[in-house]
C-alpha cells in the first residue's frame, strides 16, 4: 500500500500467499450429515420428558388488554402450564439493544410478554406448555382474550404526524432523529448547475430462512441449557442470565445445525426468555418450534424505508453533492438490532463515489407493525437502490451514459484510503481501506458482455431489452475481537474451537483449511467446534460478515502459535503426535472493519403489455480481498444475488390500514423459486487484500445482495426508457410495474406503437 496512511489503519499485515488448502475449491466436510438426513437442527433435539410450548399472539395491531381468561385452556388434559404477564410478573426486564444504540431508541424496548397493551399482530400474549404441540395449539384456541381496540399506526408519515401514538407514555412516535454528513452540502447544492430530487421507497421484507426459529430449554435446578442458539450465543447468554439473576456460568447456549440465518435468526427475542422461563417453572425440558405463520409475523422484519434524495451534478456528470432525508419504519418496538439498518443506510448513501459534500437527516419511527432487525446487507441494499437509481435518472435528464458517469465519479485506487467521515453517531471516523473500484466496474461489464447486449428499450419479439449497472462498497468484520482455541491431540488429530457461530456458510471447512495450511496437516485431521458457549471464554458470534475476517484470523494466529510449539517439540527429537494434549488459546483483536466492493450488471427483457420481467443475465462481481474457498465463496455470492433478485420482484410483507399482516404464509409471501431466477454469474476478485487482518480477507457473505435492487431497477428503467418511468419504489412487482406503465400511458409518456 503506497498511499499515505490517512486512517491510522497502517499496514500491519502482509496477506500471506495461498497455501495448498486455502484458496482451493474443497468440498465441505459438513455436507455428509445434511445429505443423509443426519443433521441435527433445533427441532431434531429431543429429550426424555420433553414438553412443548406454543405462544398465543395478538390478533390486533394495537389494543388494550382488558382481560385474559385461561381457565378452559388450563383444564384441557395434557396442558401443563398457561402463563400470561400476570404469572410471569413485571419484574422481567425488557430486551436491550445489542447494536447501534442510536439516541432515543431505548425508550421503545420490547417486553418479553405484553402486559397491558399489544402493539403489533403477533406480539406474545401468553405461553402454553403441553405434552404435545398438538395439544398446546388446542389450548391456545381455548384462551379467551378481551381487547379494546386502539387506533393503529401503519405508515411512516402517519407515524411522524403523531395523531395516534404507539407508546402513549413516551409522547412521540419518533424513535430517533439525527443529522450526519461531511463537507458542505448546502454550499455544493447552491452552486450546482443541475439538481434532481426524488422520493424513494423500499419495501418491508425479511430473511425468511427455511428453518423457522426454535429452541429447547432445560433447567436442572442449577444450570439452564438452551439448544438452538446461533449468531450471538455469548451475548444472549449474558442477557438470559441477567434476566434470571443468574451468574453467566449458570447458562449454557448450545448451537445446533441452523437452517439459514440471514441476519434475523439468533437475535434475542421474547421467546428466548419465555421458553427458558417455562422450563424453570416445570423443571422439564421445553421445546418451542415456531410455525411459518408465526415466523412471518413475529421474527424480525426488515428494509422498510423511505428516502428523499437529491443529487447535484455538473453537466458533464461530475457529482457535486448528495443530500437527503432517510426514514425507517422500525415497527412497534426497537429490538436488539433495530437501529442497524437505518444508520448503515445513511452511511452508505454516498457509496463508492467521490462525494465530498454529503448531508442526511436520519429518522426512525415506531408503528403498529412487527419490529425490524437486520437482513443480509442491512441498509446497504436500500441505500444502493436509492442512489444508483437516482444516478440513472440524472443521467437520463442530462443525456449522459450511466457507465461513463460512474467511471467519472468512482473513487480511484490511488485515493485510498478514502476518509468517509463520521456517518454513524455510535461510531468514530471511518475510511475505505483499499480498493480498485474502476477495475470492478470494468470486469463486471466485460463478464456480461455489455457492449454486445441489446439495451435502451431495443425490441426483440415484443420484449424490450435493458441493462442496468449498480456499484457498491460495504463493510465487514465487525465485533471487537474473536477467540480461538486449538488442541493438538495425542492421536494426531486437532480440535478447533471458535467463538463464531455458523448458519450454513461452511465455516467448519474453511477453519480447517486455514489451520491445515498453518500446521501442514490434512483437512480430516480437524474437528471444528463453534457457536456454543462452552467452547471458548467468549465469542462475538457471526454477523457483519465477520466469521472469516475476524474468526478465521483468530484461528490462523492460534494455529501458527501451535505450530511453533510443535516445532519446538520436534526440535527435541520427538517424532509424531505429542505425548500429551497441547492447547493454544488466543484472542484476536480486530483493527476495525474492512471494505469489500463491486459492481452488479443486470440484463432484462420486459413485456410492456403484461409488465412481466425476465432477467436474462446477471453478473454479481465483488472483490473480497482473498477467497478462502472458491466453491463456498461463489455459493455465498450466487445465493445472496438470488435472494436479492427475488426480493426485488417478489418478497413483500404487506399490511392493511388496520395493521393486519396480509402476507403471513408462503402462499402470500412469495420467494424466488427455481423457475423464476436466472443463472447468476458470480465474479470474485482478489485484487485488494485487506491490510487489516492476517488473512487479507474481506466479508464475502453480503455483497451478493447489496446491489440487486439498484441494478435491476436500472435495467427495467432502461428497457422502458421510452416510458420515462421513475421506478422509485420497490418491489418491482407485477402490480407495481403494471400500475406505473398505466400511469405513463395515461400521462402520454408511452412510446408510439411499433416503436
Amino acid at each position: 500500500m503506497n498511499a499515505p496512511d490517512r486512517t491510522g489503519l497502517g499496514n500491519a499485515f502482509e496477506a500471506t500467499a495461498s497455501g495448498t488448502l486455502t484458496g482451493a475449491p474443497i468440498e465441505r466436510v459438513e455436507d455428509e450429515r445434511f445429505l443423509t438426513g443426519a443433521g441435527c437442527f433445533t427441532d431434531d433435539v429431543r429429550f426424555e420428558g420433553m414438553v412443548h410450548a406454543a405462544i398465543l399472539r395478538s390478533s390486533h395491531a394495537h389494543a388494550r388488554i382488558r382481560g385474559i381468561d385461561c381457565s378452559a385452556a388450563r383444564a384441557l388434559p395434557g396442558v401443563l402450564l398457561v402463563a400470561t404477564a400476570a404469572e410471569i410478573g413485571h419484574a422481567h426486564k425488557p430486551i436491550p439493544i445489542r447494536l447501534a444504540p442510536l439516541p432515543g431508541l431505548d425508550r421503545f424496548l420490547q417486553p418479553t410478554i405484553a402486559a397491558d397493551e399489544v402493539r403489533y399482530v403477533g406480539e406474545p400474549v401468553a405461553i402454553v406448555v403441553a405434552t404435545s404441540r398438538y395439544i398446546a395449539e388446542d389450548a391456545l384456541d381455548l384462551i379467551e382474550t378481551d381487547y379494546e381496540e386502539l387506533p393503529a399506526v401503519t405508515g411512516i408519515e402517519q407515524s411522524i404526524a403523531g395523531a395516534a401514538l404507539v407508546h402513549a407514555s413516551v409522547g412521540t412516535n419518533v424513535a430517533t432523529q439525527y443529522p450526519v454528513g461531511r463537507g458542505d452540502a448546502e454550499q455544493a447544492f447552491a452552486s450546482a448547475p443541475y439538481t434532481r430530487r426524488e422520493r424513494f421507497r423500499c419495501h418491508r421484507h425479511t430473511g425468511a430462512p427455511m428453518e423457522t426459529r426454535g429452541l429447547v430449554a432445560e433447567w436442572n435446578g442449577s444450570l439452564m441449557r438452551v439448544w438452538g442458539a446461533t449468531k450471538v450465543p455469548f451475548f444472549n447468554r449474558g442477557l438470559l442470565a441477567s434476566m434470571f439473576d443468574l451468574p453467566e456460568t449458570a447458562v449454557d447456549m448450545i448451537e445446533t445445525d441452523i437452517g439459514g440465518g440471514f441476519g434475523i435468526r439468533g437475535e434475542f427475542y421474547p421467546e428466548d426468555f419465555l421458553v427458558p422461563w417455562a422450563s424453570m417453572q416445570l423443571g422439564r425440558p421445553v421445546k418451542w418450534i415456531e410455525d411459518r405463520r408465526e415466523h412471518l409475523m413475529a421474527a424480525n422484519h426488515a428494509r422498510e424505508t423511505e428516502c428523499e434524495l437529491e443529487i447535484a451534478m455538473d453537466h458533464d456528470g461530475t457529482i457535486r453533492g448528495l443530500r437527503g432525508r432517510a426514514m425507517a419504519d422500525l415497527g412497534a418496538y426497537v429490538r436488539t438490532g433495530g437501529g442497524v439498518a437505518i444508520s448503515r443506510l445513511a452511511q452508505y448513501l454516498p457509496g463508492p463515489y467521490r462525494i465530498t459534500d454529503f448531508a442526511c437527516e436520519v429518522m426512525a419511527v415506531i408503528t403498529n407493525k412487527t419490529p425490524v432487525g437486520t437482513f443480509r446487507g442491512p441498509g446497504r441494499y436500500e441505500a444502493n437502490f436509492f442512489r444508483e437509481r437516482l444516478l440513472d435518472l440524472a443521467c437520463a435528464d442530462l443525456g449522459l451514459d450511466p457507465v461513463a458517469v460512474r467511471e467519472k465519479n468512482l473513487i480511484a485506487k490511488h485515493e485510498m484510503p478514502w476518509p468517509i467521515g463520521r456517518l454513524v453517531p455510535t461510531e468514530g471516523e471511518g475510511a475505505y481501506d483499499v480498493g480498485d473500484f474502476h477495475s470492478g466496474l470494468h470486469k463486471a461489464l466485460a463478464a456480461i458482455g455489455y457492449e454486445r447486449l441489446p439495451r435502451g428499450g431495443t425490441r426483440i419479439d415484443g420484449w424490450l431489452h435493458g441493462v442496468g449497472v449498480a456499484c457498491f462498497v460495504e463493510s465487514s468484520g465487525g465485533g471487537k475481537s474473536e477467540n480461538a482455541r486449538i488442541i493438538a491431540r495425542t492421536d494426531g488429530s486437532f480440535d478447533i474451537y471458535s467463538g463464531v457461530s455458523t448458519m450454513g456458510q461452511g465455516h467448519e471447512t474453511v477453519f480447517a483449511q486455514i489451520a491445515g495450511d498453518e500446521l501442514g496437516v490434512p483437512l480430516d485431521a480437524f474437528r471444528v467446534h463453534h457457536g456454543s458457549t462452552a467452547h471458548v471464554d467468549y465469542g462475538w458470534g457471526t454477523f457483519h460478515s465477520r466469521a472469516i475476517v475476524v474468526g478465521g484470523s483468530a484461528v490462523k494466529l492460534a494455529a501458527a502459535q501451535l505450530r511453533e510449539q510443535l516445532d519446538a517439540l520436534a526440535a527435541t527429537g520427538h517424532v509424531g503426535a505429542p505425548a500429551e494434549d497441547i492447547e493454544v488459546k488466543l484472542r484476536y483483536d480486530t483493527r476495525g472493519p474492512t471494505y469489500s466492493y463491486g459492481t452488479h450488471v443486470a440484463h432484462v427483457a420486459v413485456d410492456p403489455e403484461t409488465a412481466r420481467v425476465k432477467v436474462l443475465a446477471y453478473v454479481a462481481l465483488e472483490d473480497v480481498g482473498r477467497v478462502m474457498n472458491p466453491l463456498l465463496a461463489h455459493g455465498q455470492a450466487v445465493g445472496g444475488a438470488v435472494q436479492g433478485i427475488g426480493a426485488t420482484f417478489l418478497d413483500e410483507l404487506r399490511y392493511d390500514e388496520a395493521g393486519q399482516l396480509l402476507s403471513g404464509s408462503y402462499a402470500d409471501y412469495l420467494m424466488a423459486t427455481s423457475t423464476e431466477v436466472p443463472a447468476v454469474q458470480a465474479v470474485l476478485l482478489e485484487e485488494s487484500p485487506s491490510p487489516s487482518n492476517p488473512l487479507g480477507a474481506k466479508g464475502a457473505g453480503e455483497g451478493g445482495i447489496v446491489a440487486t435492487g439498484g441494478a435491476l431497477a436500472n435495467a427495467v428503467g432502461d428497457a422502458l426508457a421510452g416510458y420515462r418511468l421513475p421506478l422509485t419504489t420497490l418491489p418491482l412487482s407485477l402490480d407495481n410495474l403494471a400500475r406505473a406503465l398505466r400511469q405513463a400511458r395515461a400521462a402520454g409518456n408511452a412510446p408510439q406503437a411499433g416503436h
Partner: protein, 176 residues
C-alpha cells in the same frame, strides 16, 4: 381426548407401528414416531417442499398427508436413499456442486430430484427447474442444485452407454 388408533407404515423397507392421534401428519409421524428427523418442516402448508418424501416412488409432501392415509404404501425418506455410510451418486453430485449450504432444504430437494430422475432420466435444464420449482431454497440460489441434478443424469447416461457397449454382442462372431 382426541381419537387415536394404531398406525402401521412401511418406511425405508421397515415396518413402523405406533398408537397416535388420527390427526397426526405423515411428517410428524416420520419425525416423532419413526425417529427419522431428516424430513423437515418448513411451512406445514404444502408450499416449501422441505417435507418431501416418496410414496411408492413418487414425491409427496408429508405435511399435507395424514399418516393414517398412507398405510398401504411404501414410504422412502432421505435416510433411505443410500445404505448407511454411503452416498448415492445424486448425493455425491450435490456435494461436488456445493448444492447445499445450511442443508435444511436438502432432504426435500434430494427426494424430489431422485423421483424426477427415475421418471425422466435425461431431463434438460428447464425440466429440472420445473421439477424443483415446488422446493424452496433460501441459501443456494438453486443454480448448484440444478447443476448437480443435470450432472448426475449425465453420468448415469454415460455409465449406461458404457455398460451397453460392454454387453453388446460382438459382431465378428456373426449372429447365429
Amino acid at each position: 381426548m382426541n381419537p387415536t388408533r394404531e398406525i402401521t407404515l412401511r418406511v425405508n423397507g421397515n415396518t413402523v407401528r405406533a398408537v397416535c392421534e388420527t390427526r397426526i401428519t405423515l411428517l410428524d409421524f416420520l419425525r416423532d414416531q419413526a425417529g427419522l428427523t431428516g424430513t423437515h418442516a418448513g411451512c406445514e402448508h404444502g408450499v416449501c417442499g422441505a417435507c418431501t418424501v416418496q410414496l411408492d416412488g413418487e414425491s409427496v409432501r408429508s405435511c399435507l398427508l395424514f399418516a393414517a392415509q398412507v398405510s398401504t404404501g411404501e414410504i422412502t425418506t432421505v435416510e433411505g436413499l443410500a445404505p448407511a455410510g454411503s452416498l448415492t451418486d445424486l448425493q455425491r453430485a450435490f456435494r461436488r456442486h456445493h448444492a447445499l449450504q445450511c442443508g435444511f432444504c436438502t432432504p426435500g430437494m434430494l427426494m424430489t430430484a431422485d423421483a424426477l430422475l427415475r421418471e425422466s432420466p435425461n431431463p434438460d435444464e428447464a425440466a429440472v427447474r420445473a421439477a424443483l420449482s415446488g422446493n424452496l431454497c433460501r441459501c443456494t440460489g438453486y443454480q448448484p442444485i440444478i447443476e448437480a441434478v443435470l450432472d448426475c443424469a449425465e453420468s448415469r447416461a454415460e455409465a449406461t452407454l458404457r455398460a451397453d457397449q460392454r454387453h453388446a454382442p460382438t459382431t465378428s462372431g456373426g449372429a447365429a
